[in-house]
């Protein structure tokens, strides 16, 4: 399996859960919003952890650069983490407008982040890593605790 295949599937999965939370929020159903949002946050943070603990170090080793792309990706993860916190607050106070507005910012931020990963980092990893290293890395990512 290619690295991109594995990680892109996770991006898409998060998108679906996010959309369910947003739909519930738009309908004013905060119980469902909360459930789906928590699932979304867990999945997203788990995915970030896989990237930060396994994928980025492997990528840095292969490309020989510790700053550059991966540094920006980590910085964007931080921004997403900050937004997730604010969205949780909006759910607590059942503030629909705030939730939808934050959700909008989060989605744009996350989508452009994912797009850069998919088109550049993952694509590069697919080309650079030898097949057995790919399998190994995916196995390692699967073992990362949530």
């Amino acid at each position: 399996m290619d690295i991109s295949q594995y990680l892109i599937a996770e991006h898409r999965e998060c998108d679906v859960i996010f959309a369910r939370a947003e739909k519930a929020a738009a309908e004013g159903d905060f119980t469902t919003t909360k459930d789906e949002f928590l699932k979304f946050a867990d999945e997203t943070l788990h995915h970030f952890k896989k990237e930060e603990e396994e994928f980025f170090p492997a990528f840095e080793a292969a490309t020989g650069s510790a700053e550059g792309p991966t540094r920006v990706m980590k910085y964007e993860h931080e921004q997403v983490r900050g937004l997730l916190g604010k969205m949780a607050q909006a759910i607590e106070s059942e503030d629909k407008d705030a939730y939808l507005s934050l959700a909008e910012s989060l989605m744009i931020l996350l989508q452009q982040h994912n797009m850069k990963e998919e088109q550049m980092l993952y694509a590069m990893a697919d080309r650079l890593f030898p097949p057995n290293a790919k399998e190994e890395l995916i196995e390692k990512m699967k073992k990362v605790a949530p």
Partner: protein, 421 residues
């Protein structure tokens, strides 16, 4: 720092660059609408100087300004293109561009040779300088779905400018042995189907997926569609003078390709995972729908006679609508994004910059301008109403961009900043 990675946040240009061009573009929209109000029914006469001036206010003034703003923003962030000294360059280009357009419009009205020369110099500088600077950088990167189409769109813009300058020279009295009408048709064809349409197509490859969370466009399709369109346009440019029959066939093919993509965008929007329908989606639907209607009307002209003005109206609302769609998404996002990234606690949320209801109201007024413009084709007195609605629509867009800029400055001056030390 790492110019080749293409992923640096430091490469995101200051927000004022984008807002400056967007504000300029929306003011040109207001001015163009006012001019439309005074032209009224005369708009059906395409060779009048005021109609030509109006066309250029919409294309260069509105489209051009929004294109520069969007490209300065998107090239670094989405395509990893680093434009050296982008903010200063953009500032200079902005002023020169405004001056050039003003001179051009004045030239059409007065036919004064000196104005033709001034307009040529200023516009040539702004367009060639920016286009070549961006193309030079775009050549070096690894292409994604959007960047190749943007290159081709900029290439088409250069062709448009060269043809336009030649036209100006002929108007200015220079004896050049080229068929003026043919040249003019090529100028329009490259402008509308090359530059404008290709730009929208290539932008759509990224933003539809990104903003609305839709399935992405197939890679091979995204790569080859812009190439096919530009290839057809060049074949047209080089061979149509040999056989005029080829003209209409080539042009129809180009229009069909663009219409196919318009349909594809509508399909993607239907497949979007996010349930919320905001004003920007409505603007996309209206714009792409207008192009499909344009294509249908064009095919219909093979069988029935339709007023050419109807085709012009249908086509015009395609890029104009997309401009609104892009602005209402990008502007509030950038204000929040830039302030948040700088660590301001009180960075305004997107809906605090632009309330969704405001954008929706703007859409319905714009829709009103579209519907009345179509009625006006058959009932010219309605042009006054249509122009008025269009003016209000652009003024609302201007107000939103201006207030966004104002809010940004306000937080910069008074905001509480998170300290990293």
């Amino acid at each position: 720092m790492f110019q080749n990675s293409g992923l640096s946040l430091e490469q995101a240009p200051p927000i004022v660059v984008v807002l400056r061009f967007f504000i300029t573009g929306s003011i040109f929209g207001v001015i163009a609408s006012i001019m439309l109000f005074f032209i009224g029914a005369d708009i059906a006469n395409f060779s009048l100087p005021q109609t030509i001036a109006l066309t250029h206010l919409f294309t260069l003034g509105v489209m051009g300004s929004f294109m520069f703003g969007a490209l300065y923003q998107m090239l670094p962030v989405l395509c990893g293109v680093h434009i050296k000294g982008a903010d200063l360059l953009a500032l200079r280009v902005n002023y020169i561009f405004i001056f050039g357009i003003t001179a051009l419009v004045a030239a059409f009205f007065t036919n004064a040779i000196v104005l033709y020369i001034v307009a040529t110099l200023f516009l040539a500088y702004a367009i060639f300088f920016t286009a070549f600077a961006m193309l030079g950088q775009l050549r070096k990167i690894q292409h994604n779905n959007s960047s190749r189409g943007m290159m081709l769109s900029l290439t088409a813009l250069i062709v448009v400018a060269v043809l336009g300058i030649t036209l100006l020279a002929i108007r200015g009295g220079l004896a050049i042995d080229i068929d003026y009408l043919w040249l003019k048709e090529m100028h329009y064809s490259f402008g509308l189907f090359g530059w404008v349409s290709l730009l929208i197509i290539s932008v759509s490859f990224q933003v539809i997926e990104m903003f609305y969370v839709t399935p992405s466009f197939p890679k091979g399709y995204a790569k080859n569609l812009p190439i096919a369109i530009i290839a057809l346009l060049f074949i047209d440019l080089f061979f149509s003078s040999l056989n005029p029959q080829i003209r209409s066939i080539l042009q129809l093919l180009v229009v069909l390709l663009i219409a196919f993509h318009a349909g594809f965008i509508l399909l993607r929007l239907k497949q979007k995972k996010r349930p919320v329908i905001d004003a920007t989606i409505l603007f996309w639907i209206l714009g792409e729908g207008a192009f499909i209607a344009f294509a249908v009307a064009l095919i219909a002209t093979f069988y029935v006679t339709l007023p050419p003005l109807l085709l012009v109206v249908l086509f015009s609302f395609f890029p104009l609508s997309v401009i609104f769609a892009m602005s209402y998404k990008i502007v509030p996002f950038l204000v929040w994004f830039h302030l948040n990234a700088q660590g301001y606690f009180n960075a305004p949320m997107m809906h605090e910059v632009t309330p969704p209801s405001y954008a929706k109201r703007n859409f319905y007024i714009f829709l009103g301008a579209f519907v009345t413009a179509i009625i006006a084709v058959f009932l010219p007195v309605v042009w006054y109403l249509s122009a008025l609605l269009l003016m209000i629509a652009f003024f609302m867009l201007f107000l939103n961009n201006y207030r966004a800029w104002h809010k940004y400055q306000e937080v910069l001056e008074s905001g509480e900043k998170f300290s990293f030390t």
